[in-house]
């Protein structure tokens, strides 16, 4: 499925400065795999060594924090916007 991935400032070195890049995949896991194929190294910034979303990264599909949905198995329908955001904020 064709999606849009919003890239946080600290990862834009991987995307040549782009704040948004096209994504592809039926689930978040697939979208992130394709993202890493397109921009090598970016996946390891978002996922830890065991393949889980790093604990200081929040990922949203649309408005939904994927931890309230199905995590990496969250569906990413065509047209959905995926946002990767540093969790260290607030309070």
């Amino acid at each position: 499925m064709s999606t849009v991935v919003r890239i946080p400032t600290i990862l834009r070195t991987y995307t040549g400065g782009a704040a948004e890049v096209p994504g592809e995949g039926a689930t978040l896991r697939e979208v992130l795999a394709k993202l890493d194929a397109d921009y090598p190294g970016i996946g390891a910034r978002i996922l830890d060594e065991s393949g889980k979303i790093r604990r200081f990264v929040n990922v949203y599909v649309g408005d939904e924090d994927v931890r309230f949905a199905d995590g990496l198995d969250t569906a990413t329908p065509t047209g959905s916007q995926i946002s990767v955001i540093p969790a260290v904020a607030g309070g």
């Binding site: 946080p8 929040n58 309070g91």
Partner: protein
């Protein structure tokens, strides 16, 4: 090797960050130069300010001003910070709470009452540090995501400093917090959503050209901002006569304050300003937003986010950034995390007001409620020196107690009417 940070302004005559020497990632240890960075480029972990403290004496601190700048040598601020336009917060009272202690069965209880700050919450401490960093980085707009207290602290600090303010809050906040945040000028924007959604919005705004030149005190300035909470630890120790309490109960929203109070205590020990001794840190949450308490009770090391539903709106952060560190610290020091229901929060607010003449906001009801719960459960040592934090003013959360706080009687201005009303009461 420290990674360079190109956004730092050229060095000023006075070191802009005092004895601070760099930033380091709390997760992976990667080091960075002092700059407007808040998340590690390697792992997204939070960055911490590290210092190279010279000799700091009790006497030098005691000779300083009656505000947080007496601790300027322990903070990432310039030596002349007290001369700059800021709200000069802190040095709030540490109240010996004999009545409350007696009622709960605690021999030596103190309330650190931070409602006495310029905008009536502890947030003035953290904003004061963030403001100095904003000046150094050349930011012209001061901003934040806020559960209420922070918005007022930011707009007030910006007014004093001559900066523009634009702050973001959940649109459904208490009226008093909305008034407090808007009266100082600047822009106050209500977001239709929860605090966590406001936070997410601000994190995205930082990466947008619209947010260019903005210092979000609790996002891109959070590394510096958070250090302000260390001053609570310093003040408590100094006010106890330069010693650490045996046990302390601290509210948890993002968890930042608790982690920095622990950091402050450890620094005081390291600097020889207090005697080294064990202390236990207890964390307090509202049952309607208790992700850290739930993780603690389940024995987890990670915190599963929740959707908040509590009257303690200043603590209503469902996705607490420092939650894992709160768990680490509580477990390391032999403390605990506990939560109380909204009814217990209100009851505790009334208890504190009735026994000590301190009108706390709902967050203070949470800490006092947890203090009571942990005492009754035998978790807190009744003979130990105990401190409980009140971080805000009850005048900002009047609705919580309005149902119970009404005139005893409304009468005509006559003694007979008074007699009749009070005779009826028996």
């Amino acid at each position: 090797m420290a990674l360079a940070n190109p956004a730092v302004q050229p060095a000023a005559a006075v070191a802009p960050f005092g004895s601070a020497v760099g930033l380091s990632c709390r997760e992976c240890g990667q080091t960075y130069d002092l700059g407007p960075s808040y998340a590690c480029l390697e792992c997204f972990g939070p960055l911490e300010v590290s210092y190279d403290f010279g000799g700091v004496s009790r006497e030098a601190i005691e000779a300083g001003p009656a505000n947080i700048w007496r601790y300027r040598d322990l903070l990432p601020v310039p030596a002349d910070v007290a001369d700059k336009p800021n709200l000069a917060p802190g040095w709030t009272r540490l109240v010996r709470a004999r009545n409350l202690g007696k009622e709960l069965g605690l021999r030596s209880l103190h309330v650190k009452d931070d409602s006495g700050n310029p905008t009536h919450s502890f947030k003035d401490r953290v904003v004061a540090i963030a403001l100095e960093a904003a000046r150094t980085f050349g930011y012209t707009t001061l901003s934040c995501s806020s559960t209420g207290n922070l918005a007022g602290a930011v707009t007030a600090a910006a007014a004093r400093a001559g900066l523009r303010a634009c702050v973001f809050i959940p649109a459904d906040l208490e009226q008093a917090k909305i008034v407090m945040a808007s009266v100082y000028g600047g822009d106050l924007v209500g977001i239709e959503g929860s605090y966590d959604e406001v936070n997410r919005f601000c994190s995205e705004l930082i990466g947008d050209p619209l947010g260019e030149g903005w210092g979000f005190v609790n996002v891109n300035l959070r590394t510096y901002y958070a250090e302000g909470s260390k001053t609570l630890a310093y003040e408590i120790a100094e006010q106890l006569g330069w010693r650490l309490p045996d046990q302390i109960v601290i509210p948890v929203a993002s968890g930042s304050q608790l982690t920095k109070i622990d950091k402050g205590f450890r620094e005081l020990i390291k600097l020889g300003l207090v005697e080294e001794k064990p202390y236990r840190i207890f964390a307090a949450q509202a049952a309607g937003c208790a992700p850290v308490s739930s993780a603690y009770k389940a024995g987890h090391e990670v915190v599963q986010p929740v959707r908040p539903d509590t009257i303690a709106k200043s603590l209503a952060i469902g996705n607490p950034a420092d939650g894992p560190y709160v768990l680490d610290i509580v477990r390391r020091t032999g403390g605990a995390v506990e939560d109380v229901t909204d009814a217990e929060v209100v009851d505790a607010m009334r208890l504190l007001a009735r026994t000590e003449g301190i009108f706390a906001e709902t967050a203070g009801g949470v800490t006092v409620g947890v203090l009571r719960k942990l005492t009754e459960a035998g978790v807190l040592d009744p003979d130990a020196e105990t401190v409980v934090l009140n971080t805000g003013d009850g005048l900002k959360t009047l609705d919580a107690v309005a149902e119970f706080a009404r005139p005893t009687a409304v009468i005509r201005p006559s003694v007979d009417a008074f007699r009749a009303a009070f005779d009826d009461r028996g």
